[in-house]
């Protein structure tokens, strides 16, 4: 099948078949599959197409870089270009890479969820299980998905050794359910449970968290999405939720220091790059990313490569389209969320990251000592505890030291073979360049925009894909010519 044909078929077929496919891709993550529960709001695969997406978008193409202007135009930079799945449908379920979703049961017309406040060992990177707190043995906690108009009940069990309380961030609810210790309720004592119940009349991106400050810094947060009955227009094909966090965990330590003012471990949905699972989408899909910052005290300038995104909402509410802002880097402050929307017109593996340099890798350390000395290796020190090696005093003859500022190259955390196996053997990274992980650290993940065949190869097959082959086909293969037309 020629790529061009594929695209044309997509256009001709409209959204129905594609929407079904989109709904099934989520299970492809082999590292941490989401809880196998009925999502709050999954449209059935055979959901009726209310109306088809328009075929024409002015000067904008969903398949290649185009301007689509002028800035006042509806399709300027893909602003109001719908996804492939069609209009008038219920929203697609939210995908939250590397985290589970919270199941519920219907009890007397109320959606009832259970949350346990628990200590968590979270593997930030393979081989680095860190001690934090979260919910239901997960940090961040599982994603809550509900619909506008639902009545929800949360039974919260405190399995921590100290009091806690639960706050529903951004929800307009009775004050008795707001979860502020002292102010609105007594804390939930260790071993005790507490029930919150309220109606959801809002729609958008929210979250829940402990309202004890240090517990918040220690990881106690989770995402909370309230879907409208019908997907917002223009509808998206894919809807992701990412939680950005900072921790301070000293060397030779696994327990996070919530008192810290300086942060050396950075996680997206509880994992650091390159262990963060890429967001894999089909070429041409309209994508939403709900990006929430739950760091203790630092803001994140979030940058997406290769695309211009529209800011369509923040925590609490969707923004009217007239107020949307196109950007490629936007600051997400502490306890804020931003909804990014864009049409994935540009195939390839695109870095999606916080631009604060200190968040672009874990454990930045001074680049001095044996790690930058030609003739030196730490193993020599490890093997000679009693009589350490003598340092070469004429190091400045190393040519690099004639240049003030040398070395700027920051060597990354050592990754053992086992660690690399875990990182490289996920479906989501198949076919990426061999050394792709070199550039993905800390608060970084990858947006992979794949033509449908390659998407299927990567996400819907068991085939071993050689490193670099998918990337090469995009850069050098038939697609390249086609997309650049």
């Amino acid at each position: 099948m020629q790529p061009g044909n594929t695209r044309r078929e997509f256009l001709l077929l409209g959204g129905a078949a594609v929407a079904g496919a989109a709904g099934t891709t989520f299970a492809a993550s082999d590292t941490q599959p989401p809880a196998n529960v009925p999502p709050a709001n999954v449209p059935p695969a055979d959901a009726p197409v209310v109306r088809e997406a328009p075929a024409e978008f002015g000067g904008f193409s969903r398949w290649k870089p185009t301007f689509g202007g002028p800035p006042t135009a509806d399709h300027y930079l893909g602003k109001l270009v719908p996804g492939l799945r069609g209009l008038g449908l219920a929203p697609v379920p939210v995908e939250i890479p590397d985290l589970p979703k919270l199941p519920f049961k219907m009890v007397g017309g109320v959606k009832e969820f259970e949350l346990r406040c628990t200590p968590v060992k979270r593997e930030f990177l393979p081989g680095y299980p860190m001690d934090v707190w979260g919910f239901n043995d997960s940090m961040p906690g599982p994603l809550v998905e509900a619909n506008q108009g639902d009545r929800v009940r949360f039974i919260v069990h405190n399995e921590l050794p100290e009091p806690t309380s639960m706050h529903w961030h951004g929800l307009e609810l009775p004050v008795s359910e707001d979860g502020v210790p002292g102010l609105t309720q007594n804390p939930i004592m260790p071993g005790k449970s507490y029930v919150y119940e309220f109606d959801l009349h809002q729609a958008g991106t929210f979250f829940y968290h402990s309202h004890m400050a240090m517990q918040e810094a220690f990881g106690m947060v989770g995402g909370f999405v309230i879907h409208p009955k019908v997907a917002f227009d223009p509808p998206v094909d894919r809807d992701f939720f990412l939680i950005f966090q900072n921790f301070h965990i000293a060397p030779n330590q696994t327990i996070s220091d919530s008192m810290a003012m300086d942060w050396n471990w950075h996680t997206i949905n509880g994992r650091s790059g390159p262990f963060t699972t890429p967001l894999v989408v089909r070429h041409g899909e309209r994508v939403r990313v709900r990006l929430m910052n739950f760091s203790p005290m630092q803001h994140h300038p979030i940058h997406l490569h290769g695309h211009t995104f529209w800011i369509t909402g923040h925590e609490g509410a969707r923004i009217p389209p007239s107020a949307w802002v196109p950007r490629n880097n936007t600051l997400v402050g502490v306890a804020q969320a931003t909804d990014f929307e864009f049409v994935a017109f540009n195939p390839g593996d695109w870095i999606f990251h916080c631009h604060m340099v200190h968040h672009m890798m874990n454990h930045m350390v001074q680049q001095v000592g044996p790690r930058i000395r030609d003739d030196s290796d730490v193993s020599d020190y490890q093997n000679q505890l009693a009589t350490r090696p003598r340092v070469r005093a004429d190091f400045t003859t190393d040519s690099g030291f004639r240049t003030p500022g040398y070395p700027q190259n920051m060597q990354h955390m050592h990754m053992g073979e086992e660690m690399m196996m875990k990182i490289m053997h996920r479906r989501e990274v198949q076919g990426m360049r061999k050394m792709w992980h070199m550039g993905v650290h800390g608060l970084m993940t990858v947006l992979r925009v794949l033509p449908p065949e390659l998407y299927d190869l990567v996400m819907n097959s068991d085939e071993m894909v050689m490193p670099g082959t998918v990337f090469d086909r995009i850069v050098k293969g038939d697609y390249a010519k086609d997309y650049q037309q």
Partner: protein, 499 residues
């Protein structure tokens, strides 16, 4: 506990100071040849103290020609150096270094103060011999009244005069000097402890200093690395010129510390050589600092020190001597009898006659009362002296025991906890540095901390060994000070006829 018999008085004839004749090298095992073969004595069963105790065994040396042989601690068993094997000297001078035992054996031969101590015993024994001798008779020729009645005189003849020592003054005098000889023997034993203690203390110092040199060499390498690290940081703006200069200062100070340790080590070895009385090889030292030894307790150590100290026993012997002195001086007023007699010829009567004369010196004015008073005073003084020595020992022991205990507590804790923990900390930092989680200055901190704790451990080891040596050796030091004269100042002493 391993023990060794230490023979003091069976010394080989001495030839003064000398070098070890190509003996103390690791190849020839020559140190063994210097040593006299001495059987190891079994350790005495002493329930209340773990400290080794001196033990009196029969004397084996040639006695002066005396009716009553001086008894005394002629052969003493000294505490063996910790960890020294029983046949240490015989097999100890291996390539690993000279053992403490082999060095001690050399000292028994070459330390001159031991000779002095022995000769002082001999000298005092000589006094005892002299004090017991009879005074010589007087022989003479006598002519009386020459010219009487025109004759050659009333008496022409010879005579013999003998002083008869009354009241057993000779015997008492001899007993007094034998008591002093006993004191001198305890003094000699004390000197033996002084020498051995000094040798051990210097040996521990030398062994410790040798280790400290190695540790301080690592500290210098650490400081060199710090300087290089600060210079590396300088190039990326993470340090400034001040910090570079400060790192240079630190490096220089660390180097000076190393030099001081080297000087200390060399001085300790040289002092040890002086104590032994021979030039010791520079490099060949064993290191028994770590060997385990039974712990001491305060009560047992105090009982051991007061009960067995050569100083106490010497003072006790002197007290006995002073008691006898009083007895002797009380007998002094009892007059000796001078008997004189001789045959002669009376030319006036033309017959042979015999002249006889008995003389006494009645104690009318001089009843020896002044010297008796002095002897009583000396006796009282010596009683107080004994008490003083015991109290001084107790005071000094309290200080050394405190040092011993503190050092021992440190050694145990450093062995069991501090050093392993410091090493693990350093290892952990190295590991996390390798993982790119740790900074190099932090690694250097942990490394430096390990070296500092190692140095402290060695200091405590040396203090521990030092104070244990002193406690087990009755706190005696001064292995190159001349042994004290057995007759203390203020005592009645030499007269033409010692008494």
């Amino acid at each position: 506990m391993r023990t060794r018999v230490f023979v003091l008085l069976a010394l080989a004839p001495l030839g003064g100071c000398r070098n070890v004749p190509h003996t103390a090298t690791c190849h020839s095992h020559a140190a063994a040849s210097i040593r006299q073969p001495i059987p190891a004595a079994p350790a005495p069963a002493v329930a209340q103290t773990a400290a080794p105790r001196a033990q009196v065994v029969p004397a084996s040396h040639a006695q002066p020609d005396l009716t009553e042989p001086a008894t005394g601690p002629l052969v003493e068993r000294l505490p063996a150096p910790a960890g020294a094997p029983a046949e240490s000297a015989a097999s100890g001078a291996t390539c690993a270094g000279m053992t403490l035992a082999s060095i001690e054996d050399m000292a028994t031969t070459y330390n001159p103060t031991l000779t002095q101590a022995r000769t002082q015993v001999d000298g005092t024994l000589g006094k005892a011999l002299q004090a017991g001798l009879w005074p010589n008779p007087v022989l003479g020729y006598q002519a009386e009244k020459i010219g009487s009645q025109g004759t050659a005189g009333e008496f022409q003849g010879g005579f013999i005069r003998q002083e008869i020592i009354t009241a057993q003054k000779r015997r008492v005098s001899r007993e007094k000097y034998l008591a002093r000889a006993k004191a001198a023997e305890f003094g000699a034993l004390a000197q033996q402890y002084r020498v051995v203690n000094d040798i051990r203390r210097q040996y521990w110092r030398a062994a410790g200093a040798t280790r400290l040199v190695t540790i301080h060499e690592q500290m210098v390498k650490n400081a060199e690395d710090r300087l290089v690290t600060v210079e590396e940081m300088f190039n990326v703006g993470q340090s400034n010129t001040v910090q570079v200069r400060q790192a240079r200062v630190t490096l220089q100070r660390t180097k000076l510390d190393l030099l001081a340790k080297i000087n200390d080590r060399d001085q300790a070895r040289r002092e040890l050589s002086a104590l032994v009385g021979v030039e010791l090889p520079e490099e060949l030292y064993g290191d028994e600092l770590d060997e385990s030894v039974p712990p001491l307790t305060w009560d047992a150590s105090l009982a051991y020190t007061l009960g067995e100290s050569p100083e106490v026993r010497e003072a006790t012997a002197k007290l006995e001597s002073d008691r006898i002195t009083v007895e002797r001086e009380l007998r002094q007023p009892i007059p000796n009898v001078f008997v004189q007699a001789g045959p002669g010829y009376d030319f006036t009567d033309n017959r042979t006659v015999v002249n006889a004369q008995v003389t006494v010196q009645p104690p009318i004015w001089d009843r020896n009362q002044g010297t008796i008073q002095q002897a009583h005073a000396d006796l009282s003084r010596q009683r107080a002296e004994l008490c003083r020595i015991e109290l001084r020992l107790k005071r000094d022991l309290s200080m050394h025991f405190k040092q011993y205990l503190t050092a021992q507590q440190h050694v145990e804790s450093y062995r069991g906890e501090v050093l392993p923990e410091a090493e693990q900390a350093y290892k952990a930092r190295l590991k996390s540095y390798k993982q790119q989680r740790e900074t190099w200055p932090m690694v250097l901190d942990a490394q430096s901390e390990l070296y500092q704790r190692q140095a402290e451990y060695v200091h405590n080891l040396v203090t521990w060994r030092d104070s244990q040596t002193l406690i087990e050796g009755f706190l005696l030091t001064g292995g190159l000070d001349a042994p004290q004269n057995p007759t203390p100042p203020g005592h009645i002493d030499a007269t033409p006829q010692p008494r």
